[in-house]
């Protein structure tokens, strides 16, 4: 039945009728071309933005909340309002033990440090950290390693520095690992260097072991803030509420005191952004598919008009012995052929636009669009849909064409 598709004559007929009516053909194709171009372009760009988000936050535990102590706003159990609240390691431990849905609790400290190397110096932020930090906020290490448990256990004077600090304290191409720098007049050995990513929580210039930090800043059990990461399925807002309530209880703070603890719920903000992304994707699909449909209907419409124009021709063909099936087949093949050609052109030009976008905005680590692309499956599916729609839409003019009796078609005006 489909043998005719491989016959030169079929395509000669299609070519003749399409090429002899160029304006009509081009106008017809424009709708589908534009529809699929838009679909590919929008989907690819949305993917690019999504990719750039993922790259930005990929190394970061996004389902997390930061909590720090402030001062109370309500008197409670004999304490006046305005009491300074400091979180401790015990608080962190209790939170981790008692709250449901928690993956990690990472206690952190940060302070300013005066850093000297040879004749270069500067004031930078110094953070005291556990190796755990590397799990929730992956450091992109260029050289060396991050702090490990042994550093913690032995209160080692080692430091992991950012690339920016390296550039300020070291000569170009100078080996940093194993070198010593002075932090607050104490020698620290550089064990690692990381690349600063555009996102990764509060910016820090260098990390030293938590225990070492406790010693040199005389912190005792106190911590600056804790980063609480929830399990992927956990509701991070609930985790935040539970943790705060527990902390108030532990620190003898009024349960309704809203100012005792400050927090930043990263999970909540991130959900907003991903919600925006999926909204954008939905819109993309909707717009693309709607345009595609409009394009296919335009083809049907124009074919219908041309059938009217070609009534006489179809009548002649039938008088010469064309069966209704052959006429229908001819019109459907024409419809499918222009949909496919227009679709392919749309895919190609959509792809070219994505390549151009990638060239313009997709380069470097700060790229707005990362690898804007459309999966081959989607391209394939949309082609199949096009073929099906093309066939269906071709059926309308085809049936119209054969419903006209040859005698009516040939009647002299």
């Amino acid at each position: 039945m489909f043998k005719f598709l491989f016959e030169r004559d079929t395509w000669q007929e299609v070519y003749d009728s399409l090429s002899k009516n160029k304006v009509r053909t081009v106008l017809t194709m424009f709708g589908v071309w534009w529809g699929i171009l838009l679909l590919i372009w929008l989907l690819g760009s949305a993917r690019g933005i999504e990719n750039s988000f993922n790259r930005l936050f990929g190394s970061f535990a996004t389902n997390s909340v930061f909590v720090w102590g402030q001062s109370t706003s309500k008197p409670f159990k004999g304490f006046q309002e305005g009491k300074r609240v400091r979180l401790t390691l015990t608080d962190a431990k209790k939170v981790e033990e008692n709250i449901d849905g928690i993956e990690f609790v990472v206690p952190r400290n940060q302070n300013q440090g005066f850093v000297v190397r040879n004749f270069l110096s500067g004031t930078y932020s110094v953070a005291g950290d556990y190796p755990l930090l590397d799990l929730v906020q992956k450091k992109k290490l260029i050289h060396g390693r991050f702090i490990n448990q042994k550093d913690i256990d032995d209160n080692k004077k080692v430091v992991v520095i950012s690339e920016d600090i390296y550039k300020q304290l070291f000569q170009k191409d100078e080996e940093a690992i194993g070198e010593y720098i002075k932090i607050n007049s104490m020698n620290f050995k550089v064990i690692g260097m990381y690349e600063v990513t555009s996102f990764g929580g509060p910016p820090t210039d260098m990390h030293i072991p938590f225990t070492t930090f406790q010693q040199i800043y005389n912190q005792g059990e106190q911590i600056g803030w804790m980063m609480i990461t929830g399990k992927p399925e956990a509701d991070i807002r609930q985790v935040e509420l539970d943790a705060k309530l527990l902390l108030k209880n532990l620190n003898k703070i009024h349960p309704e005191d809203k100012r005792a603890f400050g927090s930043f719920n990263f999970g909540k903000e991130f959900a907003k952004m991903t919600g925006f992304l999926s909204g954008m994707q939905f819109l993309t699909w909707f717009v693309g598919i709607a345009t595609l449909f409009a394009g296919v209907f335009a083809i049907g419409n124009i074919l219908l008009i041309t059938v009217k124009e070609r009534t006489k021709e179809i009548g002649v063909r039938r008088a010469l012995g064309a069966t209704p099936f052959e006429i229908k087949r001819q019109i459907i093949v024409e419809a499918v052929f222009i949909t496919i050609v227009a679709g392919l052109l749309g895919i190609i030009s959509g792809g070219l636009i994505l390549i151009l976008e990638n060239k313009l905005w997709g380069q470097g680590s700060e790229a707005f669009l990362v690898n804007p692309s459309v999966s081959i499956t989607i391209v394939f599916i949309s082609l199949v849909i096009l073929v099906i729609l093309g066939t269906l839409i071709g059926l309308i003019p085809a049936f119209k064409a054969t419903s006209i009796k040859p005698i009516e078609a040939l009647r002299e005006e």
Partner: protein, 233 residues
């Protein structure tokens, strides 16, 4: 060759219907050249359309080459049209975006012939109507007479048993009309059966038999002395 008995045809017009053919009996032998005449509305075109299987009769029998033509599906009708009949129209009805050769070869395409064979046969028939040199011209590059000759070549291409012509000279001037008639006569001389509708007395006289219709019945059916068109050319 062709036998029609008690043929009736009416067309619905609003609520009532128009009885166009009221019992036509006609039989045509092989090799005849018949002119069907009549004023407009006499039913001559309807008769030709029924003979050409473009339309169907309400009542009566129609036998073409021993094949009863009745209750045909569109597909069967198309195959019979292709096999038995060649059409020549008043307004030529060439496909305007196909060149002369492709137009002539079109019925062969629907016969399922290979392209090479189609071109060969198409050129042969163009040669026959004297337009071989014009094979690759589009219809709008041809004169009226040339167009009609291409149309005749197309009608001949499938080697039909019966040629049906609907006012073949209706759109042509006298001189060209005579040339076309001369050619049609020569086809008849070779043995083709030809049936044509015309309302021009002199064209009808170039046939061998004249059937006059009036109000859906045959008024007169006579054999005439054929006037040769060649004497005017």
């Amino acid at each position: 060759m062709l036998k029609i008995e008690k043929l009736h045809k009416s067309y619905p017009i609003g609520d009532s219907s128009l009885h166009v053919l009221k019992g036509i009996d006609l039989s045509v032998e092989s090799g005849e050249m018949v002119a069907i005449m009549g004023s407009s509305g006499s039913g001559k075109s309807t008769l030709l359309n029924i003979i050409g299987m473009l339309d169907e009769a309400d009542e009566g029998n129609y036998i073409l080459d021993d094949v009863p033509i009745k209750n045909l599906t569109e597909k069967k009708a198309a195959i019979y049209r292709n096999k038995f009949l060649g059409f020549i129209f008043q307004s030529f009805n060439l496909i305007n975006y196909k060149n002369a050769l492709d137009n002539v070869a079109l019925p062969l395409y629907y016969q399922g012939l290979k392209r090479k064979e189609r071109i060969e046969k198409g050129l042969f028939h163009l040669e026959k109507v004297g337009l071989r040199d014009w094979a690759h011209h589009l219809p709008n590059e041809l004169s009226g007479g040339q167009k009609q000759r291409v149309a005749i070549a197309r009608a001949l291409a499938a080697n039909p048993k019966l040629l049906l012509a609907d006012e073949p000279t209706g759109a042509l001037d006298t001189k060209t009309s005579h040339e076309i008639m001369d050619f049609i006569q020569s086809l008849n001389d070779e043995g083709k059966t030809i049936l044509m509708v015309t309302h021009e007395e002199d064209i009808a006289n170039m046939c061998k038999r004249i059937v006059r219709l009036r109000d859906g019945v045959i008024m007169e059916d006579k054999f005439v002395e054929q006037v040769r068109a060649s004497q005017y050319v």
